[in-house]
């Protein structure tokens, strides 16, 4: 009785896994297939499109710019959001709703409207400050706020921020120490999630860059698509794979952390192995 039930569950899981796996993988495989086609119907498979990625300097520049933007955006988001959220939790709990509302706003405003609003600012930035593509990070930080807020909020809700920070302060910790050595280690999964979402969002961003006439990864891919479809698809597959790898890294890191929190008590070997001071 119990065995058949378990078997049924396993079959169900396998079916779900296969169906969803196919849903995600088939388009990617199709893209990969397309990007490795040779010229002509009977021509042999070739990695020429992949190899030629680096021969497009615009594309390489755009890839680097997008990676830099992703890093800057993730860092800027954390620098802006983490202290703010901790501070509102500790000192201004009445403002929690307001902060949440502000952070979720970018989700409700269409990108095109945001651009119209931001356009004059970028004009001013380009004239007085810098016309580097990296200035896009300012608007990207705003763009990722809703997702990052949700993730960090979940992490901070899972711990008793007030008691932990007061305990740390009574032991002699200043605010930077409280945040970096007490709060951050206990919300590491939430932090990783927030950063992943930011990175994925920035790597896939097209509208802002295109309308503000900057050449980021997606804009470059779209332009290239008109000239050489094979290369543009190869780059698209590569950026998807990059996002997958990031996701895997984060879920593995998260799982390992959870294991150290739940399994440690039952495994005496872990206790001695995990002893650090």
């Amino acid at each position: 009785m119990r065995r058949t039930k378990r078997l049924k569950l396993q079959v169900f899981r396998a079916v779900v896994f296969v169906v969803f796996g196919a849903f995600f993988l088939v388009p990617i495989l199709a893209m990969f297939e397309f990007s490795t086609r040779g010229r002509g119907i009977s021509a042999p498979r070739t990695l020429a499109a992949w190899q030629s990625i680096i021969t497009y300097p615009d594309l390489v520049g755009a890839i680097i710019a997008s990676l830099e933007l992703a890093a800057i955006t993730a860092a800027g988001m954390l620098l802006l959001l983490l202290p703010t959220m901790i501070w509102t939790r500790l000192r201004l709990p009445r403002l929690t709703r307001a902060i949440e509302f502000i952070c979720l706003l970018p989700l409700t405003i269409p990108a095109i409207v945001l651009i119209v609003g931001l356009f004059p600012m970028y004009g001013w930035l380009a004239n007085n400050f810098s016309d580097s593509i990296l200035t896009l990070a300012f608007s990207y930080v705003i763009l990722v706020l809703p997702y990052a807020y949700r993730s960090l909020d979940a992490g901070l809700s899972a711990i008793d921020v007030k008691t932990l920070s007061e305990a740390a302060r009574s032991l002699g910790a200043g605010w930077p120490t409280v945040i970096l050595r007490v709060i951050v280690p206990n919300i590491s999964t939430a932090l990783l999630n927030a950063m992943l979402l930011s990175v994925a969002l920035v790597l896939g961003e097209y509208t802002f860059a295109n309308l503000l006439a900057y050449l980021n990864l997606q804009v470059a891919v779209a332009q290239l698509g008109r000239a050489n479809a094979g290369v543009s698809i190869a780059v698209a597959v590569a950026s998807l794979l990059f996002a997958f790898v990031l996701l895997m890294v984060i879920s593995i890191a998260g799982r390992r952390r959870q294991a150290s929190l739940t399994v440690a008590g039952t495994d005496p070997q872990y206790l001695t192995a995990g002893q650090r001071t």
């Binding site: 932990l164 009574s170 002699g172 929190l261 001071t277």
Partner: protein
């Protein structure tokens, strides 16, 4: 005041801690209304009171976790009123969940020392010693979630004391624990405190805790200190009606004040404050000041009633007597309570101890 004993922890003498006219308001509500209190070096003072009386606010002001609207905090002769919490050299134990979840017990204990730039080897040694002091040597590598509530609080105590604080602040450290653990840990806290000799402020709403371990108990009400004194005098000579009713059980017996005495059901009892003005009043009488007489002739009268329940409390028993117009509690050694089954007719005898008067019924029942 108390010298440290021989268990190997560094013998330290505590410092004096002074709270001077501390005031604190929260958006219109006065939480502390000019609290002054001096803790002698090495002394353990318990602040006792109902929730909202300001006791936790007082402790948080000493810790520096909140800012006072007026008054001073002086620790060891140094005015720390404007010193941030992390520079005050205090040790604090919270109600619960204060251990850092990502650190083991010993890492928790060592954390404060690390911030105080204690070297790694000394840190480990001292952290081990602190865990030994609270009886948790075998649990050094456990995380908070692998320990019971009582063990977590022991680690929190060890962590607070590891930085050799000038003051130890205990914020209801036992209230989240179950009764047996609470009593054990309570005595444990007192033992450790006497051993290290740190001046300690202990905040609780549990009178038993306060009376059991404190050198002096301060009973607080509505942001003010109602009475400060040794546990015995708080219990046996309460200064105000509030203290009498908050600490221990009290019978509220209607009577009439006349000429410095109060007449309760025909028995004249002396008053704690003989200058109380004449008129009807409520006399506060401890259950142990009420004895019950069963033998002899029991004729109906103002002091005669019927036993309705007997609660066995171990060495003593508490008997509830129905007087017709209300009930009276009497407490006596269990050996004397054996005959007092429900339905027994008894005559009350009131011991002629000085009693307090709660004249304003409303104010005292609300508190």
């Amino acid at each position: 005041m108390h010298s440290a004993s021989s268990s190997g922890t560094a013998a330290r003498s505590g410092v004096e801690v002074r709270l001077e006219e501390l005031r604190r308001r929260y958006s219109g509500v006065t939480a502390l209304d000019g609290l002054s209190l001096t803790l002698a070096p090495g002394e353990l003072v318990a602040l006792l009171g109902p929730s909202g009386c300001g006791k936790t606010t007082a402790l948080r002001l000493v810790a520096g976790l909140e800012e006072a609207n007026g008054g001073r905090v002086v620790i060891g002769g140094e005015d720390v009123t404007n010193v941030p919490a992390n520079k005050r050299e205090i040790g604090m134990v919270f109600q619960a969940y204060s251990l850092f979840p990502h650190m083991t017990a010993i890492q928790n204990v060592a954390f404060g020392m690390q911030l105080h730039k204690v070297g790694a080897s000394e840190r480990r040694q001292r952290a081990g010693k602190m865990l030994e002091l609270v009886g948790l040597s075998g649990h050094a590598n456990k995380f908070a979630h692998q320990m019971s509530g009582g063990q977590q609080q022991r680690v929190a105590l060890a962590r607070a004391l590891a930085i050799e604080p000038k003051v130890l602040l205990l914020d209801e450290p036992l209230s989240a624990l179950d009764a047996r653990v609470r009593a054990r840990l309570r005595d444990e806290i007192r033992r450790v405190q006497l051993e290290v000799g740190t001046t300690t402020l202990f905040v609780t709403h549990d009178q038993e805790e306060a009376l059991a371990i404190a050198d002096r108990v301060g009973v607080m009400n509505a942001g003010r200190l109602e009475q400060l004194g040794p546990p015995t005098s708080i219990y046996s000579r309460p200064a105000t009606a509030f203290v009498a009713e908050f600490v221990g059980l009290t019978n509220r017996l209607p009577g009439v004040v006349k000429g410095g005495e109060v007449d309760v059901r025909g028995t004249r009892l002396p008053l704690v404050k003989p200058d109380t003005s004449d008129g009807p009043a409520i006399a506060l009488v401890r259950p142990e000041a009420v004895s019950l007489v069963v033998d002899g002739e029991i004729v109906p009268g103002p002091l005669v009633g019927t036993v309705i329940a007997t609660a066995f409390l171990g060495a003593t028993s508490r008997v509830t007597v129905d007087m017709g117009d209300g009930t009276v509690l009497a407490q006596m050694p269990t050996s004397e309570a054996g005959a007092l089954t429900a339905g027994t007719r008894v005559r009350l005898a009131l011991r002629k101890d000085p009693v307090l008067i709660a004249r304003d019924e409303k104010a005292t029942t609300e508190a």
